[in-house]
Symmetry: C2
Subunit: 389 residues, 2 copies
């Protein structure tokens, strides 16, 4: 019993922490409850009930299934659901009409084979990347509606009335969903993406500086060790955020203009920027590997280049931070060219330091060349970002 | 019209290529069609129809929604759906019974607030990582069933009958799904994961060799340039496969024992192995960056170490391939320790070559130390893999 109690309290603590870290998640839960309560009000009110009939369950279903955390997600699912229901319904009614012209046995065969063929083809089409990204959910609903109408029509013979009812309830469900989603504390996928990218860029800048510091001044400042350790891990977020970035960028495309983002905002550019950032993060990962490597450069050489290295890393992180803030404010920064110039100067300085080190042991260059790579990458990023802002 | 025609033919070609590359995807489409046809047979046969009643639509819905590409996916969704329907139904009936004891107004309030509270809480619980990974779909169905029963019960008053019907139709749907999924050319998530990991490991080995070759013998053999270019890109698969590996590992846990995989097979180990592989791939990524870097080592030094470097990379890739084949056959390889020893010897040789190069320019070491890192990582991987096999 005690173990179970501990487990439950641990679970509750975790849940509480998630809620405290991001209150929007709690708000999202409440919004879903609200939308369902609204639907029930619809359901309880007699006159309305008579209007939409027993198919009111479709409204509930729509709310439960369509409601997503981000506005883009809800719009994507809602529009997919509406379009798929409409097209599949129309197609099914058409085939049904064709089938009813023939004899009863032929009708069975036509309907059965139509369901078989269409569902097979639609399921296969989900494997095509472009289709999957934008219409995966719609295809599920298409198959569902088509089979339901094609098969139930055989029994009911009130197809048009049924279709009208189903469409109206789905429309009610979708609109309640979207209202609750957009009006009450909306969470925009586009804004999430924007924040994620700028946050990751700042993390990258921090972890670059910390990483170089740690390598050169090993056993140095212990005071803010924990904080620096956290900073050091920052680049790992950049490495692992590809999946969430991709899905956010997809959902953002479904969103209307909001806030500072106009319609048809170039969301793909964010994906390109983050790919460049990942590229930098790979370098930092390797750099981090050297810290734990067994072969270390002799102290004397470390000292010789440490100042230049630290300077370079600082310049790099300055460029990154400037980029992050320019993305944040969505204005082209006037200082960025100057900072990139400074960074390139630091790279030259570092190369000079090496040239003057000709005769020494060759280990420390390993430490610096990733930085050079990082620097050249940064120039690339900055060139790309110009297009975004 | 011509543009549209070209677009359509391009789309068809793409679809054909996907089908030809992996015929199982076509088979999957046919399987879904088959399952739906089976359900329609159920639906058309009068005696059965009388048994399950108008709720036969639930069977269709279950098939459409539950049927996934892998067995693990279908099992995950099917079990989630069944358990969620059962528990939510029971809970809703209980609350309904409680509410019916009180007056009519109180009944409305109790039911409405129960729906609001439960759906809010359940939606929020989806943000808790452990819950989301295993029960995300189940929670959707839980909210759906609970709201449907709680709200419809208000009207129908034949709750038990309704529940019985819905459960029986869902059971029919799930069992048809699972039969079609497991009996007709099953695609096991576990096996997919197994193949993905071994394939990635081989790709990693190939691209390591090609990358080092390309760096040292620039402009060398042009004959198999395209093939080597493809090999070089192999490590990118390793970098990008995290998301699919995670989802496969999650689904694999739902699968029963099959083929060479027993129940409760340690799927997590695969994730660890692939994390280690990604770690290697980061190094190769950096190494690849040097090829395109502007600062190149002088030819003389390149020659001095090229033989040792190539040897090291070959040894590394041998170890990787041996690991891949030992994972494939699921036997501990007897040669692996020997190969790791050889690899370490090659590392030592490389270090010696550098020591004898004391006075030279320091650039080329940059090229080699990633290899040393790769080598040490490989030893780590091999240690970890021992546990898996």
């Amino acid at each position: 019993v005690l173990v179970a109690k501990l487990k439950i309290s641990g679970f509750m603590k975790k849940a509480w922490k998630i809620g405290a870290d991001d209150p929007r998640k709690v708000v999202h839960g409440i919004k879903v409850g609200l939308a369902l309560a609204l639907v029930s009000v619809f359901y309880y009110t007699r006159p309305l009930y008579n209007g939409v009939g027993g198919t009111a369950m479709w409204a509930i279903m729509t709310v439960v299934v369509v409601f997503e955390f981000t506005v883009g997600g809800s719009l994507y699912k809602g529009l997919n659901r509406a379009i798929a229901t409409l097209s599949a319904g129309a197609l099914a009614v058409g085939i049904h009409w064709l089938a009813s012209k023939s004899g009863e046995t032929a009708e069975h065969i036509i309907l059965g084979s139509a369901v078989f063929l269409l569902s097979s083809a639609a399921t296969f089409s989900r494997f095509i990347p472009t289709v999957r990204i934008q219409f995966d959910y719609g295809i599920t609903i298409f198959i569902l509606t088509f089979s339901l109408v094609a098969l139930s029509g055989y029994r009911v013979d009130e197809l048009f009335e049924l279709a009208e009812r189903r469409l109206s309830t789905i429309a009610i469900g979708v609109s309640i969903c979207l209202l609750a989603c957009i009006l009450v504390c909306p969470v925009w996928a586009g804004e999430e993406l924007h924040l994620l990218i700028t946050r990751n860029m700042e993390k990258l800048a921090d972890s670059l500086v910390v990483c170089v510091d740690k390598y050169l001044k090993e056993g140095g400042i212990d005071g803010d060790k924990e904080a620096s350790c956290q900073n050091l891990q920052g680049y790992k977020c950049v490495l692992n955020s590809k999946a969430s970035e991709d899905s956010l960028a997809n959902l953002a495309r479904w969103e209307p203009a909001h806030g500072r983002f106009r319609f048809r905002y170039p969301w793909r550019q964010y994906q390109k920027v983050s790919a460049a950032m990942r590229y930098c993060a790979y370098c930092i990962e390797t750099l981090d590997g050297c810290i734990n490597s067994e072969t270390q450069a002799p102290e004397s050489i470390k000292k010789h280049i440490s100042d230049v290295c630290v300077k370079l890393s600082l310049e790099c992180s300055k460029v990154l931070k400037e980029l992050a803030s320019s993305i944040k404010s969505m204005k082209k920064s006037s200082r960025i060219n100057y900072l990139v110039g400074e960074m390139n100067a630091a790279v030259e300085e570092l190369l000079d330091a090496f040239r003057s080190l000709q005769q020494a042991d060759s280990v420390p260059l390993f430490e610096s060349l990733p930085l050079v790579t990082v620097a050249s990458l940064l120039i690339e990023i900055s060139a790309r970002t110009d297009r975004v802002v």
